[in-house]
Amino acid sequence: MTERFVFESREEFLERLRALIDEGTDPQSIRIRMPYQVPEVMEILGERPDRLRFFALFGALTGFGSGLALTIYSVLSWPLIVGGKPIISLPPFLLIGYLLTILCGSLGAFFGFLLLARLPSGRGLAEGAQFPERFVIVVGEEEEP
């Protein structure tokens, strides 16, 4: 059995959602689509641990490590003193490491997001359940018109 609710306002939507959870509806069977972000929904449904930060952290550490590795490896492979600076000149190399930290951290977070949010989504690209203008709650199997 499928029930479908559509709301104009954020308050009515949250009220109905709270009521559904209080009635004992299984949160797994509730499908919600929202026109914009509503942080309260996550609280109502029970926040699960956030895994995206591990992607960001992993990317950032990889970037920093590879920046230092690249610079140090490349100067050691041809150890030539340039401009009176030491062969392993840490201050400039830290700079490269820092930039790659940010680059890989951001890309890590972005690709982690695509993975976790299941995008690109085949179901979303197909004709059917689109990004709505109003709040939509569907309880049960989703059959979109």
Partner: protein, 436 residues
């Protein structure tokens, strides 16, 4: 306003309709603007071709002034890029609501300004076909770039900045692209649908989206400060008087945000009027952004005072002479214009009525950018013209080729921006709905 009134049943629907109205059929004046900008951009590429074929002798560069107008343009356009990230990321972290009015156009500006900026080192190279020497790639003779050189830092900084701001720009737009898909018919709707990756706005998607946006903002904020610091170090790590001074990094970052904010003002005031976005970009929002302009102008003024003051403080004749030369030497007129535009005129922003006067803000935005362009020119050219050895002094005058390339770069930038206005949603609709 066209028909489709029956679609507007809700306040949120009105936001969607107002913002997407810009994606309609272009008018004649718009097409004329695009044509003019495209011609200017074409001129840039033709002149660049000439410069590459005939050699850098076509530019006005000489001994001792080997870095001049092209490098000025590079610094200027990288600077313009900065306020995009500032408005999107820093104001997001500080939860300033007025960012919603500007963030999309500012982010677009960042991407376009970086694209334009990255042309200039390539033009300046002369033999552009060997640009890949700058990249670290494994060649069979194990020749790596010199990572101690600030020019290589620049490659890393600008590339990182371009990629991260593209990601940021795109991520911010995903939900809006899904709205465009829903509201536009036919092939256009399907294209926006593909670009939106099939975004549906489920709880799972929104939850990770919120976190992603926060992380990107957190990564972009230190990045924005470091990119222009690194640009400033192109100059400051050398020991040329007037370049080698420790305040250069914060000075350049503040200057970049200053000129970028001025450019945001210059672009959004006509855009708001032309696309009838007055209900969304209010005068209050302009007042808030004018305060950022004032704040950064004060930092710039502080730096001018410190730089020029300290040149008299120590006992280095070279420093003292360089700063006197800047203010009173061959480039004194440019220096005076720069002081008026960057330090004096922005003081009018202390007056509330002038902060809220859009005509004055628009003019001030343009004047500030003239001032900031001249500032970079004065820093670069005056220092090289007049360093340690009087035997090697000399002045610079630009050639028409360099001037044409500069004008063409503005054409290219405005071309990108005009296309953006017609092709992508210029305001973040989901954020406006969230704050309504």
């Amino acid at each position: 306003m066209r028909g489709e009134e029956q679609n507007i049943t809700t306040a949120t629907g009105r936001v969607e309709k107002d913002v997407l109205a810009a994606l309609g059929r272009p008018g004649l004046r718009y097409l004329a603007g695009v044509g003019l900008c495209a011609l200017l951009a074409l001129m840039l590429f033709i002149l660049w071709g000439g410069l590459a074929l005939r050699g850098l002798g076509l530019s006005g560069k000489n001994h001792p002034v080997g870095w001049a107008m092209l490098i000025t343009n590079f610094v200027f356009w990288v600077g313009i890029a900065h306020s995009g990230t500032l408005i999107s990321a820093v104001l997001y972290l500080f939860r300033a609501r007025f960012r919603t009015s500007f963030n999309r156009s500012a982010e677009a500006m960042t991407v376009f300004a970086l694209l334009v900026a990255s042309l200039f080192p390539l033009i300046h190279l002369g033999r552009v076909w060997v640009f890949y020497y700058l990249l670290p790639y494994p060649s069979e003779r194990l020749i790596w770039p010199n990572f101690r050189s600030p020019l290589v830092w620049d490659v890393f900084a600008v590339t990182t900045y371009l990629i991260v701001s593209l990601v940021f720009f795109y991520v911010g737009m995903i939900p809006d692209l899904a709205i465009a898909r829903r509201r536009l018919p036919g092939l256009r709707g399907r294209t926006y649908g593909l670009l939106s990756l099939g975004w549906q706005g489920t709880v799972l998607q929104w939850r990770h989206y919120g976190r992603l946006y926060l992380f990107l903002a957190a990564f972009a904020t230190p990045l924005v400060a470091s990119v222009h610091s690194i640009v400033s170090w192109d100059f400051a790590v050398s020991i040329v008087p007037g370049w080698h001074t420790t305040i250069f990094a914060p000075y350049f970052v503040a200057g970049a945000i200053f000129s970028g904010t001025a450019m945001v003002i210059t672009l959004t005031i006509p855009m708001r009027r032309w696309l009838r976005l007055e209900p969304y970009i209010t005068v209050d929002h302009f007042e808030a952004i004018a305060k950022i302009l004032l704040f950064t102008s004060l930092i710039i003024t502080y730096t001018y005072l410190v730089e020029h003051g300290l040149s008299l403080y120590g006992n280095s004749p070279f420093e003292r002479d360089q700063y006197l030369y800047r203010a009173l030497g061959d480039y004194r007129v440019l220096f005076a214009i720069m002081i008026v535009c960057n330090s004096l005129l922005p003081l009018t922003m202390f007056v509330r009525r002038l902060r809220r006067n859009l005509a004055w803000l628009f003019i001030l935005g343009i004047l500030v950018n003239i001032g900031m362009w001249l500032e970079r020119f004065v820093i670069i050219v005056a220092s090289l013209s007049h360093d340690y050895d009087p035997y090697a002094w000399g002045t610079y005058n630009f050639s028409l080729v360099e001037f044409g390339i500069t004008v063409g770069s503005f054409g290219l930038f405005f071309l990108f921006f005009l296309l953006f206005v017609r092709l992508l949603p210029v305001l973040s609709m989901t954020e406006i709905k969230e704050h309504q």
